[in-house]
Symmetry: C2
Subunit: 273 residues, 2 copies
Amino acid sequence: MRMTGEIAAIHEIVRSLPRPLGFVPTMGALHAGHMHLVNVAREECASVAASIFVNPLQFGAGEDFVTYPRDVAGDSAKFEDAGVDALFIPDEATIYPPGFSTTVDVGVIGAVFEGALRPQHFVGVTTVMTKLLHIVQPDVLYLGQKDAQQTAVLRKLVRDLAFPVEVRVVPTVREADGLALSSRNAYLSGDERAVAPNLYRALSAIQNALRAGARKEDAVAAANLPAEFDIEYFDVVDADTFVSLETLRTPAFIIGAARLGTTRLIDNIWIAA
Amino acid sequence: MRMTGEIAAIHEIVRSLPRPLGFVPTMGALHAGHMHLVNVAREECASVAASIFVNPLQFGAGEDFVTYPRDVAGDSAKFEDAGVDALFIPDEATIYPPGFSTTVDVGVIGAVFEGALRPQHFVGVTTVMTKLLHIVQPDVLYLGQKDAQQTAVLRKLVRDLAFPVEVRVVPTVREADGLALSSRNAYLSGDERAVAPNLYRALSAIQNALRAGARKEDAVAAANLPAEFDIEYFDVVDADTFVSLETLRTPAFIIGAARLGTTRLIDNIWIAA
């Protein structure tokens, strides 16, 4: 594996790799979900590039940018073991040099749900992803389904601006008890970790209620999350636009977000067409 | 020359062309300035692509989008004669399909001067250029210096977002009497055409006064434009940031914009470092 923090150097490296090139962008703090993305990319592409960049632009004031878990040495060893060919680890000044002022905004799809609770979050995501795609120039972009709205936002970005890349959304990896893997699970106390899988159970309950013919309103009411959770939203949305659906129309996501203590958990279930 | 309005087809075409590939994006209504861009690209690159797209996003309400001169048959013949290899002529629905909602914004450099007088103009320019660059994937982007702020905005776009393209700014082509070539010169009446070269003379007068050591304020006062003109601005700006300069620092542009009847004319003089 070749790794660098320099744009010119990663250009050189990726230009020398056999195509198609898969790309797995991350903020580090790698878990089995990230490694699954690498493995799928490995299977489907001739080469795999990855990046580690904790993107300040996608964190709001008071969010966990400073405390976000960082372990570049451990992460790069994991990528190397997984067979990644090229790793891009830029510092902040490489991505956002003095005077940087450009933003990329996908509009309303980035302003609802996560975007409503985290203003500017998706502008940060789409801006950094635009730059990373220009730098790495992959053929296929691998994204985890865990961040469902992010996958919809980035698919829209790629579609609207005609990026020459294919987007592959890879199913969420879960613990045995159903909890979706997330770097932020590290924030959970023992008690919180024990109750955390109820978020996925709530989403599954909504799915079952919908399958049984319940109206969305009643299905969402069936979510029945334990009192430890502070619910932010449950909804059923169009998978492409993230418009809230009154009547189920596929493909869709059942989405949910809740706080458990100081930790925000989000999760979703995909309903195929 | 191969021409198409389809994204997939132009992808195929440019992929087959020898590199480096130069790209000349236009709104059509071609004049000798555009053809000079093609000729420079022809000299410097192995292949040349061009586009014709009158971009609605960069026109404001009440501007000349509907009446902007269009002559695709004549324009494509000119490109063919000039040795262009690939011509992309998308229709509006190809660039902005239903549901399109993404914008690219370079910030304050796009909000001053032309951006102040034409709100959203440069958001339209940077959004369409992002998409065109993704579609055509050139190695070198050729821009005319005539639209000085546009060259600064697009150089900043490319720099901030690390587009894998080099930007070449090509000097303005002028009529014998000094008037900068522009598709909008077609709007001028005979009387207006006769007085129009005074805009460039005014910029030259400012340049001479600066060279003679005048302070910017006094130099700009020396512009002395005939009364037929409605002055919008004269200034001296940093060539990279378009920040107004109190003391001359190079590289810089002397810029000017004025209305002559219903026609807006803009022009500039480059002051090299």
